[in-house]
Structures are given as C-alpha cells and as structure tokens.
Amino acid sequence: MTGDRRRDRTADGTATPQGRGELRDRPRRTRSTHTHTRTRTRTRTRETVLRPHPLLSLRLHRRSALVALALFGLTAAAMAASACLGRTLVPPDGAWRALWHGGTPYDLVVTELRVPRIVLGALVGAALGLAGALVQTVTRNPLASPDVIGVGHGAAAATVLALATGVTDSPGALPAVSVAGGLGAAALVHALAWRRGMQAGRFVLIGVGIGVALSAVVQLYLADSELDAAEQMKLWLTGSLDGRGWEQALPLAVVLAVCLPALVWAGWAARPLGLGDETAAGLGVRVDRTRLVLTVLGVVLAATATGAAGPIGFVALTAPQLARRLACTPHLPLLCSALTGAVVLVTADLAARTLLPPLEIPVGALTALVGGPYLLWLLGRGPRQT
C-alpha cells in the first residue's frame, strides 16, 4: 500500500466549502483552470490517497478518519460508563466479568437490564444519525431531519393504529409497520409539498403540519383508554429505552446490516449532490434517482429506529451537523454521523437514568431539551440558514 499525498489548495475566499470539496475531487482540472487566476493563500494536506492495487485508489479524509476513531472510542467509553453507572454501581471489572463469564452478583443488572438497552441505544442513535445525514444531504438543508418532516410521527401513527386495530400483536411485525408508516408519511409530505418543483421551506412547513396531524391521530386512539393496548402505546410513545432490549435491537441490527452496502454506496454518491443539482448533473450524476434512493434509505433507517425505541427527537437533526463540525468536511460524513448519534443517545440515556435517581426521564424529552435550543441557535445564526 503506498500513500500518496495530495496538496489541497483552498479558495481565495469566494469558494464555498462544497466548492473546495469539488476542487479536491478533480485536482487536474483545478490546476488547468485556476492556476493563473488564483493566489495560493493557504496550503494544507488533508487527504491521503490509498492505492492498495494499481487499479484501485481510495481517498481518505485524514481528519474525519481520526475523528471517527475518536468517536468510536467515545462510544465505547459511553457504553462502558452506562453499563457501570446507575442505581447499582458496578465496578468496571465486575461488569466485564459479568458480561463475558457470568457468575458474579452483577449478572442480572449488567447482562439482563443494562447491556440490551445500551446496545439498542447505540443502534438507534447510529440509525438516526445516518438518517439525518442522508435527509439533510438530499434537501441541502440543516433544518430538515426525519423527525421534522414527519417520518417519526408517521411511524408512530402506523404503530399505534396497528396495535389499536389488532392488525398485528406480535412485536416482530412492528418494525415493518413503522417503516411502512414512515415511508407513507414521507411520501405524503413530499407529494403535498411538490408544486412545480420542491422548495425547502415549503417542504419543512408541510412536514411539521403533517406531523401535528399524525400525532392528533395518535391521540385519537389514545383517548380510548379502556383499550388494553393503550398502556402499551403510551409506553412506546414516550420515546424511551426503558424496558426495551434485544427484542427491538435485533430487527434494527438486521436492517442496518442490510442497508450497509447501500450506505457505503451512499457515502460515495451523496457527495456530488452537495454541489447543487446542476453541477451534480453536469458531473454525470443522475440527480433525481440518487436523491430518491438516499431519501428512501434515510426514511427506512429513521422509521426502523422509531419503531424500535419510539419517537426520539432531535438526534437525527443534531448528530450530522455536530459530526460535520468535528470532522471539518464539506459534506455530511456518514460514518461520523452514525457514531455521533450513538454517543449522543447512549449518553442521553445514561443521563435520563441517573439525573433524578428514583425515576427515569424518557430519553426523548431529554434530547428535545438539548436539541430544541440547538435548532433555535441554528435558526438565529444568520446568513447561512434555509
């Protein structure tokens, strides 16, 4: 494997971050078209090109690789902390032995109560982070996220309807139902917002409205409190990892694994979209088709995550933007978004369990408390919004 360092020349102040990414993609053209107009103000190496085989070359954004490694470590640390802390304090070595060998007094707490929900939290966080990154890439709008455009509400409404009407009572079928609901809601929002083209503001507003209507539908069924399923639904609707575990984690893990090849493709295909539709089309990308596939992928991930843990807001909104700022990439980095989502959700769940000792706050409320101000800040930030 040989490392080939490439010099990255940055813009003279006018190029957008996307523009810089584009220049990096095509250094040869950059040189030929820009050398005579551009003064070299700043030079820095940012990417390593790996050539494991003469026919194959891979670009590696070094900072985002490092950040991904760090986030991986952080996720592991958060999971370990979450396994040890709580009402029963478990020493780290005790937790380790309980997990792998058993026969310790902490077996029940660690392997039965904590580990399943930690794993579920990490998976849900990763799925939400990925979904947010995909949807935000497609809409080119940091305010769009699966929960803002009604996917979470759609999944919730479908699940509640399925439980209430008795179409399904097996927990195994619920993820499928919630995915169908999420896709349906996204399609509805898309159809209603389409009017001679798509406009980001209209899309988001209609998504918010449809979300409210769908949550009203949910309330409609919850009002029938004599229903046996009502209690089950209320529990589900709080958006909590409490009492959830392998049963919900398994379908989500399967969906993530199935989506993995598509995600690898998405990581490569999503980048040109950030340049704008015309430029991307000019580069030979089938814009509409790529956008459709990315959106469906994002919605499926978000809806599955919602089906597993209930509606947990704001993770999908914040995680990709955080990841982008950490990794300093022009596009939204998928792997880093997933890891950031996992860290955020595992930490939020730990906080939800331990902040008010005898009680447990639904983790969705906690993420809303942290994510709401972030969205407000994003709105008030000035020139770059919407």
Binding site: R202, L205, V208, I210, A216, L220, E226, I361, A365, G371
Partner: protein, 329 residues
Amino acid sequence: MRRLLAWPAAAALLALAVLLSLAIGTRPVAPDVALNALLHGGSSPDALVVRSLRVPRTLVGLTAGAALGLAGAALQAVTRNPLADPGVLGLSQGAAAGVVLALALGAGYGFEGTVWYAFAGAVAAACLVYGIASRGRGGATPVKLALAGTALSAMAAGATTVVLTSSSATLDRFRFWQVGTVGGRDAGTVVRMLPFLLAGGVLVLACARGLDALALGDDTARALGHRVRTVRAAAALGATLLVASAVAAAGPIAFVGLAVPHAVRRLVRGVGYRAVLPLSAVLGAVLLLVADVAGRVVRPPSEVPAGVMTALVGVPVLVVLVRRKGAVS
C-alpha cells in the same frame, strides 16, 4: 353587503353550535328539551345534565374559542405572516409549560392560580420566538417563525415531560388538561377568565385601525400617523393575554387561531381588521364548540379532546396555505 350579511350568518352559526353543544353527548338531549332546561331549569335528569355539565363546558368552549380566534387574527396582523397562530408560534406550549411549573411548584390550582404562570410562559415564548426568528437574513419570515415556534414547542414539551415524570401528583392533574379539552371545568372558570379576556380583547380591538395600516408596511403606517411600535406591542400583548387565559382554561388548543382568520377573510372578502377581528372571535368560538361536539361523537363511550379535533381540521388549512403561491418565499 357581504359584510353586512356576514354578521347574521356568524350569529346563526354560533347559536347552532351552542345548541349542538348543549344537546349532543353521551346522553343525547333533544334540542327543545335542552333549550327549555337552559331557560327554565327543572329537575329532570336531562335538565341536570344540561345545566350542570354542558352549560359550563359550552361557556368554556365559547370563551376559549373566541380568545384563540381573536389572538390568531391579531398575531397574523402583527407578524404580517399568514401562518401565525398561537400553536405554531409556540405561545401555547410556552403557556402550558408555565402552567405545569405552577402545578409542580404547588403555586395554585384552578384558573387564577395558574393564569399568571401561563401568561409568563406565553410572553417568554413570544419574545424568544420573535427575537430569534427576526435575526439573520430576511427578518421574521414565515418559515423561520414557524420553525422557531416548533423548536420552542418541542423544548417546552420536553421540559414539561421532565417535570411530569418526576411528580406523579402533577401528572395526574395535568394529564387531561394537556391535550386541550373544554370538559370538566366549572362555570366559575369562565367568570374568572372574563377580565383577562376583556382586557386582551379590548387591547386588540383598539389596535384594529393600526393593524390595518401595519398591513401596508411599517413605513406607510408611520406616514399615515400610526405609532408602529406601540400598535405592535399593544396588539401582541393583547394576543398573549388572550392565549394565556385560553390555555389556562382549556389547555393548549392548536390551529383555531390559524384557520379561523383565513376563513373570515374569505367570508368578508377583505382584510380590514375592524371586520376580521370580531368575526374571528365569533367563528373561533364556533369552531372550538363544533370540534368539542365532534370529539364527543367520534368514539362514543369515551371523548376525544377538542384540541385533537382542531388539529385534524387545522392541518389541511395549513397545507393549503403553504401551497398557495408566495406564502413561503
């Protein structure tokens, strides 16, 4: 001519809605029996149901609906934004968070114990949403206002949930109030709500001329001799008072304030606020009463809160408005 006809039509609708609200429910009462019970009393079971249960409920629906309709019209005028609504702008959830805080602190139960907290919450939410949305490029555009309102609503709802999980007594009191319902209130609530309602209503209606001028733009309004800031502040204050009293009485009921003023504008074919504001109040009351009645019929043994029904009615209106040309720029 249309404007002259609109008033009798609105009054007839209101009378019909009141009659429906008195007559329909788990125990149906014939309209003439209901009227008779209302006017002359009596001791038959039907009369008792009407006088002790349905009359207070109808009165709360009337006042809260009128307050929300009026507040919605005023907010749309103040922000010059067709999407403004106490629910969309986050005022209702802000007021709700204030009420939950009041309940959790044990500051007081019932209307007068909570209304000041609701008012504080609504004012804080209004300032925050408007302040944040008007920063940055383009000022307070519809999209930014709505998103800031949504973010604030989510935040307030999160805070509410945290408080409720930590205190089960508060949860019990809050559970049915939260979604917005007009049932289960006594007539005293209406009486205590009236001063706030009157103050807010007078404040808003007194600004009607100024709001008309404001629709032409700040500069034109100033040239016409209006104090733009005073008009805006007074109308916003009045609307906040109305929202706070409605929320303290009936919970956060969304979309009444959004849908009604638009219907009224279409009805009178004009945007003059001297006609739109009072008619919005009347039709707001009609909408909330009808929503409440529909909530009693939809799932017979139990009741669907009025707030749920108004959301189901209001969202299609929102979608149509957003799709209209030039609504989102």
